[in-house]
Symmetry: C2
Subunit: 520 residues, 2 copies
């Protein structure tokens, strides 16, 4: 396996020499029907409005080959130590199936069996809670589940929960309400606790180490507020086998995760499984895993034109390192995905927001972009002004679905809301790409603002699984292209150290103390 | 009045020649105690961790003088036509008080009296609903209010509502629950309608023209769902006097707005007043106005060191046009402000994301940055990795409060959650600015990552008003510095035109049709 920096590859040098592609000159109906790659499940990635052509794509294929993207992915799937900084395997794919058929043994156990075993425990537990076999300590049925966790224990599961609420309502799947407490700001817990009935609520404490400050503090706040119920009967843990929470008498039961799945990749582990199985039933979660597994398998395809995650990753690197774009806007035309951009923000920026290669040397090129976004059409009435007429070009990724989740709609002026929604999506892609000339510069649209489109028939659990996996694999492939370790996060450490110093009285650090004096 | 481009000023030329300021060499406790400007109410802006020094600040003062920031602000306050593209006055400041004492006459009326008159109507109406004098059509008390609006009719009011919920709970102020329907995606309305009792809900339809597609479509969806109640008794309008909604029999009553307040600046007009007065009482909203008015008055100060909005604006331009920064991260350490960055995203990016000067010519420099953000400490566990160790420098703006809203807290390991929250805030500013050297490049923090801090004692309605105004005035001043019209939004028009074309069958446009075929 070669671990070379991007700027040491032959293909990258060539890419920089190729001519630029004008969308105004090239975007045609034919291109829209052919510039398309399967992502998995029924999810498709269309890159017709990206500034690439066959010559550039061929070169991107060479780059992916040279950087051994599929080979590295197979190594990762096979249990090689692909997080060298933390000396860990990277096993989140294994939570949704085995793509290689190989056994992965670590910590003296078969990891596939371990993840499956936890899923079985979660299936059993969630069914008992949903059917009312397991009740609260005062004998009431549980109708609310509340996740206490931060970062990956919060953003992914929250985004997925919101993404499936409407689908479950449309399908008449029984739902438990889910709430989330994440911030160490005590107002976060206070707000959630005010809105729930503790007798009918089950709390899920998520902390791999069992020592995350925010999470443990929020556990204390919750416990303090639980008057009249037995906290131990209303709390389960998702933690590692070796954490103090694993065998604590303070929890009803524990579900296990391990060191080989980072927080931002943990939605398909017990971190997401417990709350989503409780909220929507285990079958729903299993269907999400199935969609993710399909997309994981698709990402093994060495042909960039048949591998959406690879194409998306390679085009992203082209935009970043050849065209100099610094941001990516994620624009789902689906209210259900309203918090999905926040999850992707963590996934992408925490994975590839790095200045050091996996070999431990400073890189000489730009890496992960700033990721932001809101659901459309809301964004159109907000920040799209800058996307259309601002002085920088911001690449966009649209997400759309032919059908709504609830199936509740009405005709106004001859069209349904769903049709209006997607008419806007189509219109925006074209407006950004082609623009429109006007002799009044204030009404001039230069066009050449590129975007891609991920689309499917409807946002179901399976499609959502594929969507989640698409982005995880895209980020992984970009990490390989940039030669980064996408699975550690050393950049969050210094802040933690200094926060402890402030809590200890600043230890003679004048600058820290000056800020603490203002704020505390 | 001079309307010159930034690059035509003498001060800008000089600024580019001045040396760079190293935070590692300059950030001291003394600097933290002096690099501070009043914003209004008890809100303070601290810029000690920004890469400026007295020499640069003096030059920024010259730049603000040369671009006549205060003079232009006074013109605007006095009712001059400061939105020349749409030939409109810009009067949002007048909704919260008269800063100049001058009468502003337009459309044949005294505008201050007009806004005050609407406020009186809103006071009266909201008191009647809250006391139960006005009930739903089936005789039940209203306990939920639901705003139907998009863009500025949604983002600002929603952010302010969420910002005040915890304060109201802490103060035991009676609350009506507020919900928002914005997206044309029918799943948005379906989700909200599922969660409310129509007999106890009052809907507020917000559309200046009375013709906003998303909003009218959502009105239809809502009306369709209101079985068993008289829709006209459950719907009020916020609209212009000339709109079809103004005298509609479909609404219980109407509150008026005019053309002189753009959507993104409308939170202190009836657009925010109706829902916030219903949710928290008119006195709460009046207090928010008071805070905003204080900050508006403060922004009149010609001394940049005493005018937080001007300092913030000028430093932002320095970062953008001298140091080449393209983004601003807004990081409130307050869960109550969780959607405030989304409001600022619209406010800033829609106002200044432009490539044409107010004189109608293409500018030769970069304008408004990408604005994004999430609440801390959540962001620390998400995208801060990139902020600390990514390859671009992203300026940050932190927001903090000494005290929580609810007052619900507990000691864990010797400190409250509120103290932990602010210890983290202080730690992050210092970690970003000073970094820390390590012989392992993966653990190296270069520092020199700049941030500013807006802080106050507690997030009250008055402080929130000042915070809102601070950003509005900052954006306005930046528009003056860049010589933009910050009050139009021509960039959103083309997408609207093309969406209509899709709904009409694409009118022979092959490219549009190819996307429509995929999506519809």
């Amino acid at each position: 396996m070669n671990f070379n920096n991007l700027d040491k590859t032959l293909a990258f040098d060539d890419l920089r020499k190729l001519g630029r592609v004008s969308l105004r000159n090239n975007l045609t109906a034919r291109r829209i029907s052919t510039y398309s790659a399967v992502a998995g499940a029924d999810l498709t990635y269309n890159y017709a409005a990206m500034p690439v052509n066959n010559e550039i794509i061929d070169k991107l294929q060479e780059l992916c080959d040279e950087q051994e993207l599929v080979e590295k992915y197979i190594e990762l799937l096979s249990g090689e130590m692909m997080n060298p900084g933390e000396k860990r395997l990277v096993l989140h794919h294994l939570t949704r199936g085995n793509c290689t058929g190989k056994k992965v043994i670590a910590d003296g156990e078969d990891k596939e069996e371990f993840y499956k075993g936890e899923l079985e425990k979660i299936k059993d537990f969630s069914e008992k809670v949903r059917s009312g076999k397991i009740k609260g300590s005062t004998g009431k049925k549980i109708d609310t589940v509340c996740q206490i966790g931060i970062g990956g224990s919060d953003l992914g599961p929250r985004a997925l929960y919101l993404a499936l609420k409407g689908w479950a309502a449309g399908e008449k799947v029984k739902q438990l309400r889910a709430e989330f407490i994440s911030n160490v700001d005590p107002d976060d817990a206070a707000g959630v606790l005010r809105a729930i009935d503790p007798e009918k609520t089950l709390f899920i404490l998520v902390s791999k180490s069992g020592t995350t400050l925010e999470t443990l503090t929020n556990q204390m706040l919750v416990t303090k507020s639980l008057r009249g119920v037995d906290p131990a009967k209303h709390l389960v843990a998702v933690t590692s086998k070796t954490s103090p929470l694993a065998s604590s008498k303070d929890v009803l039961t524990s579900f296990f995760i391990d060191d080989y799945i980072g927080g931002r990749y943990s939605s398909t582990s017990a971190v997401g499984a417990v709350i989503l199985s409780l909220a929507f039933g285990f079958e729903t979660f299993a269907s999400l895993l199935e969609g993710a597994h399909e997309a994981d398998n698709n990402a093994l395809n060495g042909d960039i034109r048949k591998n959406a995650a690879m194409m998306d990753a390679a085009i992203g690197v082209y935009l970043r390192n050849v065209l100099g774009c610094r941001e990516t806007a994620i624009l789902p035309y689906s209210q259900a995905l309203c918090r999905f951009p926040a999850h992707l923000q963590q996934l992408d920026m925490e994975s590839n927001g790095k200045h050091v290669s996996r070999n431990g040397e400073k890189v000489d090129y730009e890496t992960g972009p700033v990721v932001f976004g809101e659901s459309g059409t809301n964004g159109q009435h907000s920040f799209y002004q800058l996307l259309h007429q601002g002085t920088d070009m911001i690449p966009m990724q649209f997400i759309g679905f032919r059908n709504s989740q609830y199936g509740f709609d009405t005709q106004v002026e001859g069209s349904t809301s769903q049709k209006k929604l997607n008419a806007n999506l189509a219109a925006q892609i074209v407006a950004f790409a082609l623009g429109r000339d006007n002799e009044n510069p204030n009404k001039q649209f230069d066009g050449e603002r590129c975007s891609s489109l991920l689309y499917a028939d409807r946002l179901t659990p399976k499609t959502l699984g594929a969507l989640l996996s698409h982005y995880e694999n895209k980020v992984m492939f970009q990490g390989f292209l940039w030669n980064l370790n996408s699975f550690d996060q050393e950049g969050v450490q210094l802040g933690k150290v200094l926060a402890k110093k402030v809590l200890a009285g600043c230890e003679g650090d004048d600058v820290l103390k000056a800020y603490a004096d203002i704020l505390i």
